[in-house]
């Protein structure tokens, strides 16, 4: 498919999605807010993961960056859109979070209050876009990480990113149930975000064509990273279940029961099956990491699993169920815009590439 067709289909998808969202918002703002929060949380993973991987590479190095750099740059370029996209959902906090009118005796109102929420949202926006700019425009070239004298910046950036994204996960997702607390929850959400973006980046790398076998090696390296982080996600997610299951506390168990008893129950199997079981057993076998078709398929499955996971986290918390078409419309509305920006980012990065044979040509696309 030529890039121009990617762009056109993205615009059409987005237009349909936005029309659906407008219809939904006019008839029921609360339902729209729920759907929009889900799409926001899902798509945010792409720029967050892109920024994270570039900063990690600054510290670790790795040949694979030569192939991954354009896709990562395109992912990072979506940061302004992806981070600001939360605003429609947060316009009316009352429609999302019960702690906006806290029941008497809720002990954590010093943290969970609208002022604090918006201050943290603003700080996140500034930090993330700053780090994205640093990851995008820092002095790096091809597979080379940032010069050693600047690598301390990447280290600090990663720590900032981990903390701010953890707070964001707590604010936006965990606080839907203000009495529930799980200290490992942020890790699970960070891993989920990373897998979302990583699946997008590796998918882009896989559907590209390459002139050399070396690129195939890079793709297998990236698949290895993806395999490791899907294992990590499954590990922390399972640890959360195990600990809560063993504690058997009245304040924690209902969080899971609510999901088991909701219409979103099947999403558990999509999330765990496509997000861990299938990728784990497929990518475990070495030759599959070198096959573009297999890697691209696995990445799509992981993306699907992350959508299901996001819905599973958010939707059962809302008492008035959102119509499913509205959830999908919101997903497309933001997803189309993200895809458009991502495709532009790819082209833009390609144009700035100084040497080497073009990766994105009509025969490869």
């Amino acid at each position: 498919m030529k890039p121009v067709w990617v762009g056109i289909s993205a615009i059409i998808l987005s237009a349909i999605g936005i029309a659906g969202c407008i219809m939904g918002a006019l008839s029921d703002w609360t339902a729209f807010a729920h759907a929009w929060l889900s799409t926001y949380v899902f798509w945010l993973g792409i720029p967050l993961a892109g920024t994270t991987l570039v900063l990690v590479h600054d510290l670790s190095g790795g040949e694979w960056m030569e192939t991954a750099r354009p896709a990562l740059a395109a992912a990072i370029m979506t940061m302004p859109l992806a981070s600001l996209a939360g605003i429609p959902a947060f316009v009316d906090l009352k429609s999302l979070y019960s702690w906006t009118s806290p029941p008497p005796g809720l002990p954590n109102v010093f943290y969970l209050n609208p002022t604090g929420f918006f201050v943290r949202f603003g700080v996140d926006l500034v930090l993330w876009n700053g780090l994205a700019a640093f990851a995008l425009w820092g002095p790096r070239e091809g597979k080379e990480p940032i010069p050693p004298r600047l690598s301390w910046l990447s280290g600090i950036g990663l720590i900032i990113l981990a903390f701010s994204a953890s707070f964001a996960a707590i604010d936006w997702i965990l606080s839907l149930e203000p009495t529930f607390w799980s200290s490992i929850f942020s890790y699970a959400q960070l891993a989920s975000w990373f897998n979302t973006g990583m699946a997008m980046v590796v998918f882009t790398v896989a559907v590209w064509g390459w002139p050399t076998d070396q690129r195939r090696q890079h793709m297998s390296d990236l698949s290895r990273i993806l395999l490791a982080t899907t294992i990590f996600w499954a590990y922390v997610e399972f640890m959360q279940i195990l600990i809560i299951w063993e504690e058997n506390l009245k304040t924690e168990i209902p969080w899971y029961l609510k999901r088991l008893d909701s219409p979103w129950h099947p999403a558990i199997y999509v999330s765990a099956g496509l997000g861990f079981v299938v990728p784990f057993f497929v990518l475990l076998w070495a030759p599959s990491k070198y096959s573009r078709g297999v890697v691209a398929t696995i990445c799509l499955l992981i993306l699907a699993s992350r959508i299901a996971h996001t819905w599973l986290l958010l939707m059962p918390e809302f008492t008035g169920p959102t119509p499913f078409w509205l959830d999908v419309a919101a997903l497309f509305a933001l997803g189309g815009l993200m895809g458009l920006l991502f495709a532009f980012g790819l082209r833009d990065v390609r144009r700035r590439e100084p040497t080497g044979s073009p990766l994105w040509t009509p025969d490869h696309a």
């Binding site: 399972f238 195990l242 299951w245 063993e246 058997n248």
Partner: protein, 177 residues
């Protein structure tokens, strides 16, 4: 004439031994081995172009067996042999069994990998005919040694000697079996 194990050639540089390996393979030889003081980039792929997937398969099978075994131990103990009501949870409490299952899977897999590695490399082995070669003494410090073994179907002592000479070997010698 004595029975031969093979013919050994000694080279001074890693490039030379790699070229020699490539030429041997191109000439149709299959059973030859290089002995170098450190891993020479690409040499293993020239001598063994397609690694046998035996060990990974053995380890995967061991992982499946180990996981089943580990789960069975806990299931047998907690649900069949000595069922104990812990906080009203089911006797077959799979979330709690997962940690033990995982650990036991690791134990069996790593053990299979360790012993499988020894078996596929023919270890432990206290003696090897290559020890008799004088050239072998420096293969662990600063020389690169390659040996064509007599069991190769194309082996012919004179031809191999000629090939090594053409490749510029510093020393060529026969190794008795």
């Amino acid at each position: 004439m004595n029975e031969l194990f093979g013919i050994v050639a000694e080279f001074a540089t890693p490039q030379a031994v790699r070229t020699a390996a490539e030429d041997l393979r191109r000439a149709g030889f299959r059973v030859f081995e290089a002995y170098t003081p450190y891993p020479v980039e690409g040499l293993d792929r020239i001598i063994h172009p397609a690694p046998k997937p035996v060990l990974p398969l053995v380890m995967f099978a061991a992982a499946v067996i180990g996981a089943g075994w580990g789960y069975w131990i806990q299931f047998w103990d907690e649900a069949l042999n000595y069922p104990l009501n812990v906080g009203g949870r089911p006797f077959n409490s799979w979330p709690a069994f997962m940690v033990g299952t995982f650990e036991f899977m690791l134990l069996v897999t790593v053990a299979a990998g360790f012993f499988g590695m020894l078996a596929t490399s023919g270890l432990p082995r206290l003696y090897h005919p290559i020890f008799e070669a004088n050239a072998f003494a420096r293969a662990s410090s600063d020389r690169f040694v390659i040996c064509v073994e007599a069991i190769d179907s194309r082996f012919d002592a004179a031809a191999v000697r000629a090939l090594f000479k053409r490749l510029g070997a510093d020393r060529i010698e026969e190794v008795p079996a």
